[in-house]
């Protein structure tokens, strides 16, 4: 047996140590990617902390509250007509729809009912804010998967609807038009024909988006089978609106519980899709815009005459009681739980906004997807930051 010299022994130890080091270095560890609060994909200040293994997501933690404005608390120190100014800013691309459930809840407490003409105009504006909101989604969905042009088309064509909303209410984004017992004003002259023209343009826009995105192989490859939400999981996370209809749940508050709005007098269809993936959510929303334009056309044709304001006292004091009203807003079910103690101001307002619930599924949904799919799935869930944080 040959003796090992010190030098050889040291070299051996050094080699072993080097091997060990290499092994340590090759051990890959996860990376934490902080998407947001400032990031082009999050439409605001949603922060998503994603733990990655390579490009695959291990865990996702959505952190909200960067834009919390305390509307529920602020509503407690404002009179009922003043509250609509606040809640306009919850879902800021479909503003009018935010006012409706609150006003309906207050009307329920006061036991007044808006005259038919006011109800019809309310429904028209409600559906138009849906069109304005979701048409933006249709363009934005293209942006999320990398196609820039649909977003410009969406901004261009949304203008037709916004112009009509502005003509009727005086506000493009924040109409503040709904009143307890009716509406602020009647429609201006010539509005009906102009709106019909705008609806036609929106249907053309839907066709255009369909041609640009829906039939595109790359778009389908990026969205089909991505981010699948089974119906039971979606329901248990409290999803609503197009997100849950895309999972095959036939649930639309407009049809099932229309109280205060006149959807049940119209001929329309609730679209659902069986797949539950990003594509299905896109597709259902696209059909919804079409359906809404048809609804607005029917509403304009059948608009009844009469007053637009019921008899309500000049100073509104809501009698004591509790009321919960929810409507099918562009982003999903939105509800207001209003508690009154008979004052000028509500005692407590609880806002159930759709996006807050819709976004709660992300930790479950984003597990195991690739980084680019985080963006498309979040895009297809379609949230508005104001609707999450209120």
């Amino acid at each position: 047996m040959t003796a090992i010299s010190d030098r050889e022994q040291l070299a051996y130890i050094a080699a072993q140590a080097a091997d060990a080091r290499v092994n340590v270095e090759l051990e890959t560890e996860g990376m934490t990617l902080n998407i947001g609060p400032q990031h082009p994909a999050t439409h605001g200040t949603l922060r998503i902390v994603a733990k990655l293994d390579g490009e695959q997501v291990i865990a996702v933690d959505p952190i909200m509250g960067y834009m919390h404005r305390g509307y529920e608390k602020l509503a407690e120190v404002r009179t009922y007509p003043q509250v609509t100014t606040l809640i306009n800013r919850i879902d800021w691309v479909g503003s009018f729809a935010n006012e409706v459930p609150f006003i309906l809840a207050a009307e329920k407490l006061m036991e007044v009912e808006a005259p038919p003409r006011a109800q019809w105009i309310r429904t028209i504006l409600f559906e138009m804010s849906r069109i304005a909101n979701i048409s933006l989604f249709l363009g934005d969905m293209g942006l999320q998967v990398g196609a820039v042009t649909p977003a410009f088309f969406a901004f261009r064509d949304r203008e037709h609807v916004l112009n009509q909303i502005e003509a009727a209410t005086g506000g493009r984004f924040h109409p503040n038009f709904d009143r307890i017992g009716g509406l602020k004003d009647d429609l201006p002259a010539g509005w009906i024909t102009e709106t019909k023209r705008a609806m036609k343009k929106m249907r053309n826009f839907c066709d255009e988006i369909e041609g640009l995105l829906q039939g595109n192989e790359i778009f389908e490859a990026r969205t089909r089978g991505i981010g699948v939400i089974p119906a039971d999981v979606g329901l248990s996370y409290g999803l609503s609106g197009a997100n849950i209809r895309a999972s095959g749940v036939d649930w639309d508050t407009r049809r099932d519980n229309p109280g205060g709005l006149v959807h049940n007098e119209l001929d329309w269809k609730v679209w659902t899709h069986v797949d539950g993936d990003s594509f299905a959510r896109f597709w259902v929303r696209l059909q919804e815009v079409r359906e809404s334009t048809k609804m607005v056309d029917q509403l304009l044709d059948g608009l009844p005459g009469g007053p637009i304001m019921a008899k309500v006292p000049r100073i509104i004091k809501v009698p004591a009681g509790e009321a919960y009203v929810e409507t099918e807003n562009p982003l999903g079910v939105m509800g207001y739980y209003v508690v009154s103690k008979g004052d000028l101001v509500p005692y407590r307002v609880k806002i159930r906004s759709a996006s807050f619930n819709n976004i709660s599924i992300t930790p479950w949904l984003l597990k195991g997807v690739y980084v680019p799919d985080i963006i498309t799935i979040l895009g297809s869930l379609y949230f508005i930051l104001g609707d999450i944080d209120r």
Partner: protein
Amino acid sequence: MIAAITDPWWAQTTLRVVGGLAAVLLVAGTLVYLHLFKLVSFMQSRLGPMEAGPFGSLQLLAEVGKFIQKEDIFPRKADRFVFAAAPFVVLMSTFLLVVVVPGGPDAWFVDSEIGIYLGMAVSSVSVIGILMAGWGSASKYSLLGGLRATGQLIAYELPLILAVLGVVIQAETMNMQGIVLAQAEGEIFGWGVIGNPYILTQGVAFLIFMVAMQAELTQTPFDMPIAESELVTGYMTEYSGMRFLLFFIGEFATAGVFSAIAAVLFLGGWYIPGIDPADNIMNVLGPIVLITKIVVLTFVVFWVRFTFPRFREDQLQKLAWKVLIPIALANIVVTGVLKVAF
């Protein structure tokens, strides 16, 4: 440039440097104005820049002025040398690439016997610059973008080169000038009025080349490395001011140069049917013809860029390895067989 050959070396070098700068910067500027500013604005129903100069034509100068004034920001943890050098490496690849493109019978920078081979080799250098930018920025978005870019550029280099091989087999030369002349003098089954632009006989290779070129330029269906909706701007995220401008010039200049190579390989380069390719007038007309073809080809590139959504990186790798490369290989086999048969 035939006069230049008899000139002293410094005159030749100056001429080539000036010519190279003009070929890169003027083309890049033209493409930015024509396509990014105006074509895209038209597609997206807006006007684009209109204030600076007639129809916003001086907007480019304004942009350059803006970028030069901006602060050159280094992230605190950045690998400073690598971060600073990366845009130059990317741009260097473009400048090295442009030298192989001939503009006329005597208007060339380097008349190399292995011209296209050299071009394909130096075009790969930009990968290193992008990886440097991704690593040196010390940002996770940049790193992800840099790594995606590396994987993508390597994957699409192969179909690009394999597509070129079909042309090389048909032209029997790797000299760019030789490829142009082979097209000018070629004929398709005895019909040689317009010569034989290889887009006619190498149509498959042309399509593969254009797709791979789109990916090499990281333009939209293949812009995963930049992916502004998820990685902010990928490897360029941390750059500002002059260095960002260099990346920007690099992007558009490379689009121009790759289109020039595509024009030389498939559209006949600088020759005009009916004019003798050795005629001295072609030294003036040739570059104009070439630039026209560049504009047409880059129009296609930007048209596609602003129309399509983007692939995910696994999907684009699949496209390269499972679709483009087998087709390119088949194209080479068919070209070789037909070359021997006829």
